[in-house]
């Protein structure tokens, strides 16, 4: 199986990463050599194997729905690239 340029561009859209034409070609090459290496898994028959989803054999714990952190709104907003009062600002979404 090979990953073509069209697939790479589609994946980059899904991943929300803009990609120049030249870089896309290099990426396609890299991905193909990595997937060639990954294909080795097809040697194994795994129909009757349970997938391992979590290495820690615990069920998720419940906790009370209670605020435990201090009021850190100011500090959180300080990291924002663009803000207005208590809001994060993004480019206009609705026309």
């Amino acid at each position: 199986m090979t990953i073509d340029l069209k697939t790479v561009k589609h994946i980059s859209k899904l991943a929300r990463i803009s990609l120049e034409e030249k870089k896309a070609e290099k990426l396609a090459n890299d991905m193909n050599s990595i997937f060639e290496f990954i294909e080795k898994l097809n040697e194994l028959k795994t129909e009757n194997v349970e997938p391992l989803t979590s290495i820690a054999e615990t069920t998720l714990r419940f906790r009370e729905d209670k605020i435990t952190s201090d009021n850190i709104r100011e500090k959180i907003l300080k990291n924002s690239p663009e803000k207005n009062d208590d809001f994060f600002v993004v480019p206009k979404v609705v026309e």
């Binding site: 898994l41 997938p51 989803t53 300080k78 993004v90």
Partner: protein
């Protein structure tokens, strides 16, 4: 007297408790040496002024009951530190200042440790040579233009160069053990669930673990004891009874059964690695251990499994970097355009490559063929270990298939770079504890490490075997301070 910076953590604590050295004297020594070691590029963010101030405060009101009384410690820049910039080695977090503290670092400060600075690492811990960091290559103090390993490369470099008495790293596929092996130091990856992941910049959540890095095994046990804790803030943290690792440390491993997995004799493995392993087996026998041949039949499938699971989880974890709430933002004509440009400019090549692989294997129509398949093979790999542990208490392997390589030597070939983790990755997939200890050198006099893998939650046996073998190996780093200004 020996220089303060070359003391072990154990000796440093002893001297501070006996009031032979003050916390401030210790801080000054490490700050001074770090200032003169800028060529190593081990630090991303220095916290020197604060560290000196806090050490004075400790000396004014000392508490010698703490496990790390007034000890300055630099940590990998993957741990969020309250009010101190945390970059994860990435441009996208270049200006990020957390408003909270990771549990593991908080545990260190609670026991009297003082933050010396934040150490360089591969971007989002994705790399085996520290070459993917936005903040540049890190030099290995062993020799000029040699990689310090990765992803905890700033940590291993700073530790081997005596810029910090101990440090902490994170290990997703070998990122503590491989850099420890490359720098002649000790690094331990604990059992998954031992050390909280809260406040660690996430890479692959089902594999990531924080762990101690140190100059010797005793120091490693002291630091593990501090950082390992049950934490409600991490949903996969495990509530088990933790040992007092340092006080229970013993060299008596008589009768312990150590397995030697034949599948780790990989094609093309250099003879010096093979010889190191043979020597390691002899050392283990000398220590009183019983050597047993075992088989881990799915070993060769571990790396391909890892290169599905880790990128898949990474692509999901890194979806949060969108230029809205924190981190870098590039300007765009629309919201989507802004996202795409931010992520394109903010992430480096290796991170983008892994996000792309991860997005692909999770995308519609491919999930079963790749991600589900990898999870099934991961089960088989874990079962290999479960079966082996019916016969043995621990497993001995080389830590890496080679010694440290030159900067630039492997950076153009992702697969050859990935092969570096061939002996460490299976351990993360199975969630097991494992340590790397220095055990010899190659023909260039570069350090080589041996790995001891334990049963889940049995860090104590791993440490004891390492402690016992360390005495027999008697490895000494021969570092000549070539970088000092």
């Amino acid at each position: 007297m020996t220089e303060i910076t070359s003391l072990s953590l154990f000796e440093l604590i002893k001297n501070i408790k006996e009031k032979k050295i003050s916390s401030n004297e210790a801080a000054k020594s490490f700050v001074d040496r770090s200032e003169k070691s800028k060529k190593l590029n081990a630090y991303v963010t220095e916290n020197f002024e604060n560290c000196l101030q806090l050490s004075k405060e400790f000396d004014n009101k000392p508490n010698f009951d703490l496990k790390l009384p007034g000890i300055p410690i630099a940590v990998k820049d993957l741990f969020c530190t309250n009010e101190v910039r945390t970059t994860a080695g990435s441009n996208i977090l270049n200006n990020f200042v957390p408003s909270y503290e990771s549990t593991v670092t908080q545990n260190i400060w609670n026991e009297g440790g003082i933050l010396l600075g934040k150490l360089n690492c591969d971007e989002f811990a994705m790399g085996s040579s520290n070459e993917t960091s936005f903040f540049g290559n890190v030099q290995n103090p062993i020799a000029k233009d040699l990689v310090p390993g990765g992803s905890s490369g700033g940590s291993s470099s700073a530790l081997a160069a005596n810029l910090t008495p101990v440090t902490i790293g994170t290990d997703t596929g070998g990122s503590i053990r491989q850099p420890a092996s490359f720098t002649g130091t000790v690094g331990l990856k604990p059992t998954y669930g031992s050390c909280s992941r809260y406040g660690i910049v996430a890479f692959a959540s089902s594999l990531d673990q924080a762990g101690p890095m140190s100059k010797d095994v005793e120091d490693c046990s002291i630091l593990l004891e501090v950082i390992s804790s049950f934490d409600k803030k991490d949903s996969t943290s495990i509530d088990f009874k933790r040992n007092n690792y340092s006080s229970e440390l013993t060299r008596n491993i008589k009768g312990i059964k150590i397995g030697i997995p034949k599948e780790y004799r990989v094609d093309g493995m250099p003879e010096e690695i093979e010889n190191l392993w043979k020597k390691g087996i002899e050392y283990a026998k000398d220590c009183g251990a019983e050597i047993i041949d075992i088989s881990l039949p799915h070993t060769s499938y571990a790396l391909p499994t890892y290169y599905i699971v880790a990128p898949a989880e990474a692509s999901s974890n890194l979806a949060r970097y969108d230029g809205v709430k924190y981190g870098l933002r590039s300007s765009g004509e629309s919201l989507i355009d802004m996202y795409e440009k931010t992520r394109s400019e903010g992430f480096g090549e290796e991170v983008k490559r892994r996000i792309m692989i991860g997005t692909y294997v999770l995308s519609s129509g491919y999930y079963d063929a790749y991600y589900l398949k990898a999870q099934k093979v991961r089960q088989l790999i874990k079962q290999d270990f479960d079966q082996a542990y019916n016969k043995v208490d621990a497993i001995l392997t080389p830590s890496t298939p080679s010694s440290a390589f030159k900067i630039g030597e492997k950076s153009n070939d992702p697969v050859s770079m990935y092969l570096n983790d061939i002996f460490t990755v299976p351990v993360n997939l199975a969630g097991l504890p494992a340590i790397s200890i220095p055990a010899g050198t190659d023909k260039n006099n570069y350090p080589l490490g041996l790995q001891i893998i334990g049963k889940p939650f049995d860090e104590q046996t791993v440490l004891n075997i390492a402690y016992s073998m360390e005495e027999k190996i008697n490895y000494k780093n021969n570092i000549i301070d070539w970088w000092m200004e």
